[in-house]
């Protein structure tokens, strides 16, 4: 019995040694107290082990006596004398275990978005004394329901399709394939997209798409709206686009190069010629930026952009403008702040009719604070556009303006947001006047 207890004590000590290998070092002053405490606990544990061992021996002794005591009562049922339980069929157990492993593996490698048609999207609607996207209208409006799909087609291939069901400036309901891109990832530094994409200039045109929920503000700056909502730039291009990032310690260089169909102004709005153009002229350009990903400047991105195109219109005689646009942007995007500034300079040549070179500019600055429950923002935007430049005069919304706006975003939950904006817009050339806007919008994602 003593040898058994010695073994138990040795086993306990071994366990204590194994488990305590990571015991932190204790200060010299408290070491003695700590050791005394541990010794007391060990003694208590040893006493408990002694008691448990004695109880186990007692139960084993009783169990050993039980078969001889019940032997005369052969007719009564007895646990000891009963038939042996059937031995487990090891072959069946092995088969079941293998099946479970197969099921686990199948489930582990099943990609949930391969089943059916995974679809996500955005939608928004609102009310205001003006439609935020078509100022000539007022009241309640349905803006859009915007679906996007990113089918996984395997390997290094990427795909993205954005189908937008929207109400246009005339109140008509229409459908657009806003983006239809197929891509190939060469590496982290280079992805090639072909199809229809958002032209890579500035910041908001590639960061904020047709889903209003994505924006913290209620709407884009006016001159950067989409073509059918009053924007003066070719927000979409159909062609090819190479983009990527070169990552280093603390930051990364961002780049974009694109080439596509030159646009055309049809019925006063820029058309991105998704089926090709009839003059064979391209749009091409690029963007270069640097984003800090660590340090004091983490969240700051600065960059420059430029593009050229030959854009004609549907007038008689047909006008043709060689546009050259260049500028820069700066964005500070963190958990607390969302600030962005973009500037665009136009140096356009009227090819036909030959009216010479025209210079114009447009810019905005927006500052936002991401408070825990609300995101307030303020914005100033201005477009000073030479109206003798055929490129602007041919567009319905090509007039000059400036706007001051303030608003906020409130998230009901992770999928629904309410946005409110007060804005004062001054038109300064085609029509001279101002409007005050009170706008509310509810946007969701799903």
């Amino acid at each position: 019995m003593f040898n058994q207890f010695s073994f138990h004590a040795r086993a306990f000590a071994l366990g204590a040694l194994l488990g305590s290998a990571s015991l932190p070092a204790v200060a010299a002053d408290s070491q003695a107290d700590e050791l005394a405490k541990i010794k007391q606990e060990l003694n208590q544990s040893i006493q408990m082990i002694k008691a448990l061992a004695a109880r186990v021996q007692e139960l084993e002794a009783k169990q050993a006596q039980a078969p001889s005591a019940s032997a005369p009562a052969a007719a009564a049922p007895s646990i000891v004398q009963g038939p042996r339980p059937p031995q487990p069929d090891t072959a069946r157990l092995d088969a079941v275990e293998q099946k479970v492993t197969e099921i686990e593996t199948m489930n582990a490698t099943r990609h949930t978005d391969d089943t059916g048609l995974p679809m996500h999207g955005f939608a928004d609607m609102g009310i205001g004394n003006h439609n935020p996207f078509h100022p000539n209208e007022e009241g309640t409006y349905l803006n859009n329901i915007d679906f996007y799909l990113t089918p996984q087609i395997g390997g290094r291939f990427l795909s993205l399709f954005e189908m937008n069901f929207e109400v246009d400036h005339a109140g008509n309901f229409g459908v657009d394939i806003e983006r239809g891109q197929l891509g190939y990832q060469f590496s982290d530094a280079a992805t090639l997209w072909i199809g229809r994409f958002h032209t890579p200039y500035g910041f908001v045109n590639t960061a904020m798409h047709h889903g209003v929920w994505i924006n913290d503000s209620l709407r884009r700056p006016g001159f950067l709206m989409f073509e059918d909502q009053g924007g003066i730039l070719p927000a979409h291009t159909v062609g090819a686009w190479v983009t990527g990032a070169l990552r280093g310690d603390g930051g990364k260089v961002l780049y974009d190069v694109f080439y596509g169909n030159g646009q055309q102004i049809i019925s006063g709005y820029i058309d991105m010629r998704s089926g090709g153009n009839d003059h064979g002229k391209p749009i091409y350009g690029g963007r270069l930026g640097y984003q800090w990903t660590a340090g004091a400047a983490e969240g700051l991105t600065v960059g420059v952009h430029a593009f050229e195109s030959r854009i004609d219109d549907d007038q008689t005689p047909e006008g043709l403008t060689e546009i050259k646009v260049y500028g820069g942007y700066a964005v500070y995007d963190t958990d607390t702040w969302e600030h962005m500034v973009e500037v665009y300079f136009f140096n356009n040549l009227d090819v036909f009719p030959s009216n010479g070179v025209h210079k114009s500019k447009a810019y905005y600055a927006q500052f936002g604070y991401r408070a825990p429950w609300i995101v307030p923002y303020v914005r100033y935007e201005r477009a000073t556009l030479d109206q003798t430049d055929n490129y602007f005069s041919a567009q319905v919304t090509g007039g000059s303006y400036y706007r001051s706006a303030a608003g906020f975003r409130y998230d009901f939950n992770t999928k629904a947001a309410f946005k409110f904006e007060l804005a004062n817009t001054h038109y300064t050339d085609r029509t001279v006047g101002q409007i005050n806007e009170i706008l509310g919008d509810i946007s969701i994602r799903f």
Partner: protein, 133 residues
């Protein structure tokens, strides 16, 4: 025999409790051939790093350990993590990592998927962890 096992178990249990050993360690595992530095793992799971050399990475979350992983490795909460992938998906056409429901599923995924990476709560058999958090 039972009493000896009981003594050893009690000893290990008591010593483990008093030693303060971490019970919520995370082990990041990847399929054979994937070489990653611990400092790169965050970028893999937020979609900023899609390749390790020429290998296309396929990360997968493990719901059994996701809360700890978000806190320890990504330094994000669940809402921000979901929002990050919504934006990345909408902007770049990227898909968020699939979610496995257990360590066993995560291990099976890594073993059967070229470039697969995930995380588990205990050192897995048959897979060498590439980082511990």
């Amino acid at each position: 025999m039972r009493s000896r096992t009981l003594a050893l178990f009690l000893g290990i249990t008591i010593a483990t409790c008093t030693s303060g050993a971490a019970a919520d360690d995370l082990y990041v595992i990847c399929s054979a051939g994937v070489v990653l530095q611990p400092s790169e793992i965050r970028n893999v799971f937020i979609g900023e790093k899609a390749f390790a050399g020429s290998a296309k990475l396929v990360p997968a979350d493990n719901s059994a350990a996701q809360a700890a992983f978000l806190e320890k490795v990504l330094k994000l909460d669940a809402v921000k993590y979901a929002g990050l992938w919504t934006k990345k998906s909408f902007r770049d056409g990227a898909n968020p990592p699939p979610v496995k429901s257990s360590d066993a599923e995560a291990i099976a995924f890594v073993k059967s998927t070229a470039g697969g990476c995930s995380y588990v709560t205990s050192i897995p058999a048959g897979v060498t962890p590439i980082a511990k958090f």
